[in-house]
Amino acid sequence: MATKSKKSKVYQMKFKVTAAVLFFACAISIFFCGIVGVNISKVWSWDVINADAVYDTEEFREFFSNTLDQAVLADIYYQSEGRIEAGLAVDREELLNGFKRYYGIVDGVITGNTEVNETYDGLMIYGNIPESLHENLTEYEELVESRLPSYYKMYIQRQLDEYKNCVRYLDGMKNFLYYVEDENGNVIGGNTTKSEIGEAERTLVLSAGFSSDHLGENPYYFDVYDNSILEKSNFKFYGAIRDPLLPGDEFYDLWQDFGFAKQSIPILFAVFALSLLGLLVCMIYLMRVTGQKEKGGKIQFTVVDRLYNEIHFLLVFLFYGVAFTVASTLIEIILQGRVVFWNYVFATVLGTLYLVAVAVLLSYVLSVTRQFKDRSFFRNTWISASIRRMSELFTGKTFRGWMVIVMLCYGLGNCVIMGIMVMAPFYGYGKFSLLAGIGLVLFNVLCMYWFIRALRSLKEIMVSVKESSKGNFSYPLELNKISPSFLNFAEDVANIQVGLKNAVDDAVKGERMKAELITNVSHDLKTPLTSIISYVDLLKKEELENERASGYVDILHEKSYRLKQLIEDLIEASKASSGNLTVTKMRVDYKQLTLQAMGEMEDKMEAVGLTFKISCAEPVFIHADGGHMWRILENLFSNVIKYSMPNSRVYVDIFKMDGYGILVMKNISAAPIDFDETRLTERFVRGDASRTTEGSGLGLSITQSLAEIQGGTFGIQVDGDLFKAVVSIPLWEAEEEDEEKEEE
């Protein structure tokens, strides 16, 4: 290949394409060689390659022998029309058998005791024919008398026709020379003279018992000329081929065809060999450069390379199976040559199929080559992939390697026991078969037991994980009770639990520390505040000369108490939100609680002229901490008192719903509500942005936290000026015992 001259360039795309085109060209050339070869082989067998002359070929001999047979038939068997008409060429047996067959006559008593006469128009009776058959005899007699003469005439006519055909055939054979000699040396038939045959180079003499063959180079096979007619006669047959041949008969055609074949075969072989060589070279070149852009470059794969190699091979194999079946059928049809038009179509299909097959082969070979070059051929097999997948299961930490062995042992155990069970009777140990059967059951029961044990430990792990998901991280996962197959898994789960527990503990600890910090800071604030309150109070008692000064003292007095309230709220808020509060739950009457709370707040409500409307259709008992509930209601009521439209009504509804005792408090806001209701429960968010009114901004936040630590919810809805607070607390279940649940 010219492309190999420069190594650096051989990986270029244009060379690859050229090589592929060349490859296909060679393939096409091989295809045409095949077609020519098939055409030659239609006429000639393999000996055409060895034969020097047409006379040496089997085809020539066969044709010659056929012609010879015709000549023997015409000139020895029939000899002349007159002889046929005289009935001299009649084969009596053949004639009578044909007649009997034609009329369905079966040989038996009648035919055995009779004979047809020489003129074929009557019956001669020799033996005794039983009375019972006389009727049949008469019938046979009538048949022979009436039908046989016409059958005889027909027979003679057929012989005449055959004779004429032979003569006509022989007349056409210009290059076939022969004559027939009787035992006395007189020529009795033929198309030539003794002298001409004598001059001829390629001659043949046949007679009963003697032959001489000078037709071709090699002594010929006598059996070809094994002619029964000649064997029965005393005639001698002299045959020859005219040399040189004259055009116009089939010998000449054969000779010419031979010449052509003889000429074309070497060319054919040469072209074939060259094409094959080209094909191989192109393929080797392509194999070398495929998948790479430079020497030693990274292998680039195509889509087909992703197929598992077994599957790829099977697909290619399947394609070739189908292709060969189709191709051989087509070739057969074409060679039979029955439908001339379709031959072109079939040939086209065949050619296309051939090209596709070549392309598939090239693609497959190159794909395999690429994978070999990348050393990934075996890795890219389904078996390898499966093994890898299996080994992933059993190696590493997920499953222990010996699990494979255990499984194999299980399979092997079953096989062995079953083998014993099946084979034992053949060796005469029938008892062992029964024993093995029992063993098989026991073995499997045992294995099942182990399996169930393993499953149970899986269940243990699952339960533990479920507990963890509920937040119970201290659910014990006893590793010593876990089946070894899940031990790694269980350890991982245990580690996760520990990790989660630590994380949650840290979070709780952090939250608690925060609450403690706030509490401590608040304590430190309280001590100086005590002094402030005391001395402000003392100041108030002093006789102050200045009116304004006493006004200031009043403000100091008020604000110091406000500060006190703020600090207390802060502590409570931090405790409530961090869950750092003791919750003592008991059976609490929601209605009574509300009435008590209202009693406590009654004076303040009256001061702002609020009227409360309570509706409670049935007793509602909730599972709650009364003290915390009071704080919730206190916050809500003081909220209402602070922000309600004066002299309006406040509605309080208490009812049960979905396992919760629900309190809904509705009031009309004095100021338009222009803030996001969801933000109200956040700490330090207040209804009035100016923060002038009393309150820490923690009230609703505390309320929400308190509701939540009691397992309830707190929500706020705003609809225009209507402000709605909803406190839902779990109902007291009659079944529950009066136990006190303590939560830190």
């Binding site: 005590t530 109070d537 009457d589 209202m598």
Partner: protein, 231 residues
């Protein structure tokens, strides 16, 4: 009148001084200490009738001092503390304190509590028992006179308030629900949900308690009812 000595112990000098002013106004004599050890020393050196003790102090804290004092003395101890948790209060009272006041306190409340304890410590114990008088802590309910005295001082109650207080005091420690109180005091069944009873309770508390927000006697059991604490 005999002058009583009160020991005020707090590590914050300004608080001690402020308390001293109030106590002197009430006619008490004040001995000052700034930590637990000083307090114990002052106790040895003086005859003390009542102690005001801070909890968080250097050297020796209030709780330990309380324990030490209780080893030998039976005088009233009031703990003053910034710790306002229920657990802190319970702890302090269990250690032997008679009262627990959280900082920041109202000076007037502090004075009221001091007086209350002093009165009981010095005078009340000696008063002769009369029939038909129910006494709980500093509260006396005279059923014959239909009078109520708190720390010896007569207070004015309405007939309903008196009825409620009598019911609760006769059954000290027992919790009465609103409905029960209504039925027993008004002598009729309660129908509509009303806050009448709870309003009366609040008013009673305002009259008998030093700090109505942190009642010592008339307690609310939230969502269940009311009771007078057995003291």
């Amino acid at each position: 009148m005999e002058q009583f000595n009160i020991l005020v112990c707090d590590d914050d000098k300004s608080i001690v001084d402020a308390i001293e002013i109030y106590l002197k106004q009430e006619g008490y004599r004040v001995i000052k200490a700034y930590n637990g050890l000083e307090a114990l020393q002052a106790l040895e050196e003086n005859e003390i009738h009542l102690i005001l003790l801070d909890v968080m102090m250097p050297e020796m804290d209030g709780l330990n001092a309380t324990v030490k004092i209780r080893e030998s003395l039976n005088i009233p101890i009031i703990i003053l503390s910034a710790k306002s948790e229920d657990t802190d209060k319970i702890l302090g009272l269990n250690f032997g304190a008679d009262d627990y006041i959280t900082k920041p306190f109202n000076p007037l409340e502090l004075m009221a509590r001091v007086k209350s304890l002093m009165r009981r410590y010095t005078a009340l114990g000696s008063i002769a028992e009369k029939n038909n008088i129910i006494r709980i802590g500093g509260i006396e309910l005279d059923k014959d006179a239909k009078e109520v005295r708190v720390e010896g001082e007569k207070i004015k109650l309405t007939a309903t308030e008196y009825g409620i207080l009598q019911l609760l005091m006769e059954n000290a420690g027992k919790v009465f629900s609103i409905d029960e109180i209504y039925e027993k005091v008004w002598n009729e069944a309660s129908f509509a949900p009303e806050n009448t009873v709870s309003v009366h309770i609040r008013r009673i508390r305002e009259k008998i308690e030093i700090n109505p927000k942190e009642p010592r006697y008339l307690k609310v059991v939230w969502g269940i009812g009311y009771k007078i604490e057995k003291i």
